[in-house]
Subunit: 292 residues, 2 copies
């Protein structure tokens, strides 16, 4: 069994990006600049945005954190987005979700210039993904593809079962895995809350990608010997034995499943760290595209 070490791979990717940026600087070129918009004071969101900003510093990107009050109106937020769309200094930006309830998230995501949409959430970019065109691939599915690629896992003709049909993980990874290419060319089954007898699908899967958010959902009896297991679940489970009061738990019953798996991602340290690395990769791409 091989552990898919997202921490190591994400560091490799960051090192590669650092080198590219150093070369840009040496050539006197503008370096990539990511902006992150956050509305309100949600703890988890602040943590995520904070790590994104730190990751920018790590690779030599410029970054701007745009902190807006919970009470901002939709119109004011849209005006801010328009400003970022038109700011030549900013190569790409993200709007940290979730947004407060009085804001129409769809309208906000549609307002982001697809050329700066490094999260890949704009329908134009998502459509390009589904139509095999060049685009910004959303960071989490992009990170999964990159893990499969760097560990040279053959996906062609394999049966991949995806658990969960969310817009940010399940649906895009189900499309990516069935596209032509490597990784890809998989026969993909997308399962979800309405699926009957989920285990009958996972038991026959060569690759299981779980993005459900239910701790320890996928048990050893649900997977076949030698399967590749990708765990996207990140749930905070209360645990008084640790100082911060919770542990990050995946969808996969790791101990038991890892005994049957050929490859498996740990949680934490698997898909999670890859997400930020791929956001940086998309930002670099946005910078490079705006040059050409």
């Amino acid at each position: 069994m091989t552990i898919l070490d997202g921490k190591k791979i994400s560091n490799d990717i960051k090192d590669e990006i650092t080198e590219v940026v150093a070369q840009m600087k040496a050539n006197g070129e503008k370096t990539p600049h990511l902006a992150a918009v956050i509305v309100g004071e949600d703890g988890a969101s602040l943590t995520y945005v904070g790590s994104k900003v730190r990751a920018c510093a790590r690779v030599g990107f410029e970054s701007t954190l745009v902190q807006l009050p919970e009470t901002i109106t939709q119109q004011q937020l849209l005006a801010k987005i328009d400003e970022l769309n038109n700011d030549p200094e900013i190569d790409g930006f993200i709007v940290q979700l979730p947004l407060p309830k009085h804001i129409d998230t769809q309208k906000v995501l549609l307002a982001v210039d697809p050329k700066k949409d490094v999260d890949g959430f704009h329908p134009e970019n998502f459509g390009k993904l589904a139509l095999d065109m060049e685009t910004f691939i959303p960071a989490t599915p992009y990170g999964i593809m990159e893990l499969l690629r760097r560990y040279d896992i053959n996906t062609s003709g394999k049966h991949t079962v995806v658990i969960g049909r969310s817009h940010i993980v399940g649906r895009p990874i189900s499309i990516l895995m069935s596209r032509k290419g490597q990784p890809g060319d998989s026969t993909v089954t997308l399962t979800h809350s309405r699926t009957n007898d989920l285990a009958s699908f996972t038991k026959n899967a060569d690759i299981v990608i779980s993005a459900l958010g239910v701790p320890n959902f996928l048990t050893a009896d649900m997977v076949k010997q030698g399967a590749v297991i990708i765990d996207v679940g990140i749930t905070r489970v209360p645990d008084n034995a640790v100082t911060k009061g919770y542990v990050i738990t995946g969808d996969v019953d790791y101990q038991a499943v890892s005994e049957k798996a050929s490859f498996i991602t740990p949680v934490p340290g698997g898909v999670g760290p890859m997400t930020i690395a791929m956001l940086l990769q998309n930002t670099l791409l946005a910078r490079q595209r705006s040059v050409h």
Copy 2:
């Protein structure tokens, strides 16, 4: 076994649209106007476009056929599309595919204003489909959904196996069938040329949607008793016994498979006629949206 009568249902839809248009006329409103762009003289393409134009007349739409020579340059074609984008008289238009080899099809489809893209081929519209937003659903998958809806076939929690991952049928129908709602909420497996042991998937399917283009590919031993069979294949098979020299043949070995199926589409007269009805539906929608 029930035959899914696409000819009848498409006529019902055309009758419904005719009534809406008659009411528009009675109210002194502008009626829907579809334009179809065709480049060159390909026989099959001319036939398809011809039926689209006739269908417009049937329901009371205005229509414009834009016939362009095979030798047109890409720039000239893009200029024509720009003209249609900006013509307030035209509510929606299509560019008949395939285009000649010297034309970049992707560039052309990207040039169509998403608001007039009644084929639903623009990435922005395709992305909206994948992200559960309102859009123009491409006519063939839309026609399949409408057949399932009007025959009240329960798809929730069923296992749907799609054969073929094309941009115009396989991929969009695989997404639509897995979206929330009815029809939808299916567990969908998308199979294709790289799939190993395809029969092992189709044998377990409650619903099979075949969009492969290989005559009589799906045989009775590949489907389970009571399955719903949707045949999107339309292949011209040479046949000297008939005057036109060919017969239209589907992907499904109809006689044998229909004995096991609970519902089945014939070819011709199944999905085919639905496609034009849904193009009309999208054109009506484009007109209604431009009013609101």
